[in-house]
Chain length 238, copies 2
DNA sequence: TCAGTTTTTGACGGTTCGTCAAAGGAAGGT
DNA sequence: ACCTTCCTTTGACGAACCGTCAAAAACTGA
């Protein structure tokens, strides 16, 4: 029956509407400044209808975070296709992450909001699994590049450091820096004006420390950065 | 008058009691699982009395986080007195942080809880200032060691990287790693069994990348770690 | 013992959450 | 045109929690 098909589509569409409206409200007034009643009102539906789609506010944030990870993933995919050496391609991933944080800082925040235990407890395992899967594919791209570097002979990790370990290190450094810069006054003042530059510099130091060739001193990475921006993110206004 | 003096002491003592009880409850049931009524009940005081000390739950968490930073600071101070080269002393700081995270993971969580905007908005500027000051002194110790390294000729940072930048990098890497390991399932699986070892290894790579002497390859840092543990944290059971 | 002062209490109004019985509406049959 | 059945939408409602504040209790010194 064609009708039920149409209805299904309408439902899905409404899910998108709710997310869009909620996103705007969260950005305007913060997580705690938004009530389900207000979301319902802004959607021009009643509360019960909203609850039909999402069993609570936390699930909405989770869905928003999942959308954000999806967009990050597509940025990573573009970056991974950059034509260059393994270390240059990793740099492209770093730039993709930076673009995401810079252009959609609010979505980066949704990602961070997932912390408080309230989230974990109230969100259905299904949705959590969905989210984890998306994150997984982002990490897979990074790990893939690390492995490429190893198999091409650009990178020789110590015996006690796996490709995953290494990916974790880069992730920690990058995420930690953006997170602290966004949440901690003191860290913000330490980082100085341009966190993105700082992160790039530190990531290079980390890669140098593990001997990922070409080393920072032996290559014009400023030029690489420019090429990444021109080729991978031509639409980005900086 | 001696009486008012005694009362002041009693009040202070009660503040400590409230914090201890609240800490236990938060650990048991999470931030959202604890109500002011429950805290009051567990303290065997009425709600009004609790509100006389703390105007809301957020302030309690903030106070707990501040206590945690204080303890971290005293660990840092001990670590900074370690007899050794500048890089070894920095390693002692890293070990101090690791000890804190390992031994009091719940307090590390209080530190992280400060994120949600709800906190910032509801907590008095005074208490926030107090917290910031404590963090400040922790960072001061780290920056001091970096500067020592520079002045002793062990470390020569590039022109565009300040001592603060560098401290920020180490902080990001370390904090990011422990934070992710604690909050993100995927990250936990990447990090492997021993995050502390991973963080040490990555921090060494970062320091190597900036050329902080002695380099990882030219020094027995396993031995240094052992000495740090013996001398600085003899009470720690690992 | 008592009046004055301080501290403690818990009932209360206000807000938000999440539910659910009832109202509303579409599709199909007579 | 009207009715029946089934699905969707609604918003009033109970429960939980917050933070306040007037009244009660406790304490103080005379």
């Amino acid at each position: 029956m064609a009708v039920s098909e149409r209805k299904r589509r309408e439902l899905e569409q409404r899910e998108g509407l709710i997310l869009d409206v909620a996103r705007r409200l969260f950005i305007e007034r913060g997580f705690h400044g938004v009530t389900m009643d207000r979301i319902a009102e802004a959607c021009e539906y009643s509360k019960g209808t909203i609850y039909g789609h999402f069993p609570n506010k936390e699930e909405i944030v989770f869905a928003l975070a999942t959308r954000a990870v999806h967009r990050t993933h597509s940025l990573f995919e573009r970056a991974a296709r950059f034509q260059g050496g393994s270390r240059e391609r990793m740099m492209a991933i770093g730039e993709a992450y930076a673009q995401f944080v810079r252009r959609e800082p609010e979505d980066f925040r949704f990602w961070q909001m997932l912390r408080p235990d309230a989230m974990r407890d109230k969100v259905s395992p299904d949705r959590q699994q969905l989210f984890l899967g998306s994150e997984q594919s982002c990490v897979a791209i990074v790990s893939g590049i690390v492995r490429d570097g190893i198999s091409h002979g650009d990178l020789a990790l110590p015996d006690d450091v796996t490709a995953d370990d290494f990916a974790f290190g880069l992730w920690s450094l990058t995420f930690g820096a953006y997170f602290l810069d966004d949440s901690n006054e003191l860290a913000k003042s330490l980082a100085g004006r341009d966190v993105f530059r700082a992160v790039r510099r530190h990531a290079h130091a980390l890669m140098d420390g593990y001997g990922w060739k070409p080393l920072f001193a032996n290559w014009d990475f400023e030029d690489t950065l420019q090429r990444i921006r021109d080729e991978v993110f031509p639409d980005a206004r900086l």
